[in-house]
Symmetry: C2
Subunit: 207 residues, 2 copies
DNA sequence: ACCTGAACACCGTTCAAGT
DNA sequence: ACCTGAACACCGTTCAAGT
């Protein structure tokens, strides 16, 4: 395969190479998949030498961690946005957050996969860990809100929130992996599955 | 790093190189993680040239698919074993299958990860697809059994089974990724979480 | 039929040198 | 301060040649 021509040499003097590298990395993931993400390809897309990225990221995993971090921020926003749109009823708010989680994964599968599969050890990246934590905390808040409203049963809120997280995370993961597509029977849509999953949660975690 | 000495040259004439390659691949995954799994390392462990594996597997993904296939068989066995041990009550059987799923993942995380993250497109490997399908079918059977017993509500059994799969899959995934380990609050164990998750399922999918 | 030896293109990473 | 050019060790894969 012929190598694509790139940006003219020495023509790259915008001030934010780091930003450009992150955008290019995500573009590779979206367009060509995770196996195509190499440091050299990212550098190529931006028009710099293969060594240049190492002035902004320690190694390949570090750039993945940075992409993942932006993904967690978007995931958080997706959940909060859904909650806001859901109004004031606790059950609707709880269900909306779960739906927001699944919606983010389905709309941004490449981003979602980086967040949960490509990072070996999240504790190595404190700011990534903090971003992921913020999303979980949002689920925790929703659970506490549900408990206060008498919607969700008593018990360790962290455990209940983790059950909610598990259910929507599992659905999102199976769906975007294609494993959830059943050949026989009526066609399942992610929308109806999300509805059913959040309903199951409210019933299953209820008093 | 010095290269480890290997089996003496030309000393490898057992009849099943394919089997040896699969065992070595799993050993690498368990001992050193997915990033360490290379064709050359697998060949090195078995004591053959780097080209030898290509007489038994088309490419690197094919060997991963074969390892994943064996994993799905073990997953299936773990669920069936748990169901058998649970006796005859539908609720107990349903919960046991979910617990068997999580138990397999927790006891064999390397195997579990190959099954669900390393395979790009499962439809490329029909026998792998069939093995994965068998596990899902087992969950489907449990759901149908639950419906017959009046335990599980009416509705598309495939959808309900997928919700069950999602919940246990999400829990297993989050747990082995380490994301589920919360710093604050009481310590969560996978056993208590599995109990809570399967209880939530029975309640949430109940009539 | 199955394996070796050598090769090719590619990648992650480093580092002295340039501006 | 930031990037280049060149290098090193490594990997996936192929293929003619050996037994």
């Amino acid at each position: 395969l012929p190598r694509k021509p790139r940006i003219p040499k020495h023509g790259y003097h915008h001030g934010d190479l780091r930003r450009a590298l992150l955008d290019a990395a995500l573009a590779v993931l979206v367009e060509d998949g995770p196996h195509a993400l190499t440091m050299r390809e990212v550098a190529r897309r931006v028009g710099v030498t293969q060594a240049a990225p190492y002035h902004h990221f320690a190694d390949k995993e570090a750039i993945l961690a940075a992409v993942a971090e932006e993904g967690f921020t978007k995931l958080y926003e997706s959940m909060i946005e859904a909650r806001t749109a859901a109004g004031t009823k606790p059950a609707a708010r709880l269900r909306a957050m779960g739906a927001g989680y699944v919606r983010f994964a389905v709309q941004h599968p490449a981003h979602f996969r980086v967040m949960f599969v490509k990072i070996v050890d999240m504790t190595q990246y404190p700011s990534l860990h903090a971003c992921a934590d913020r999303s979980f905390t949002a689920l925790l808040e929703a659970t506490l809100e549900g408990q206060k409203a008498g919607l969700v049963r008593k018990g360790d809120a962290a455990e209940l929130a983790l059950l909610m997280w598990s259910a929507v995370h599992g659905l999102a993961t199976l769906w975007i992996s294609g494993a959830a597509v059943r050949p026989a029977g009526p066609v399942l849509t992610i929308e109806s599955l999300t509805d059913a999953a959040t309903e199951m949660l409210v019933r299953g975690l209820g008093r």
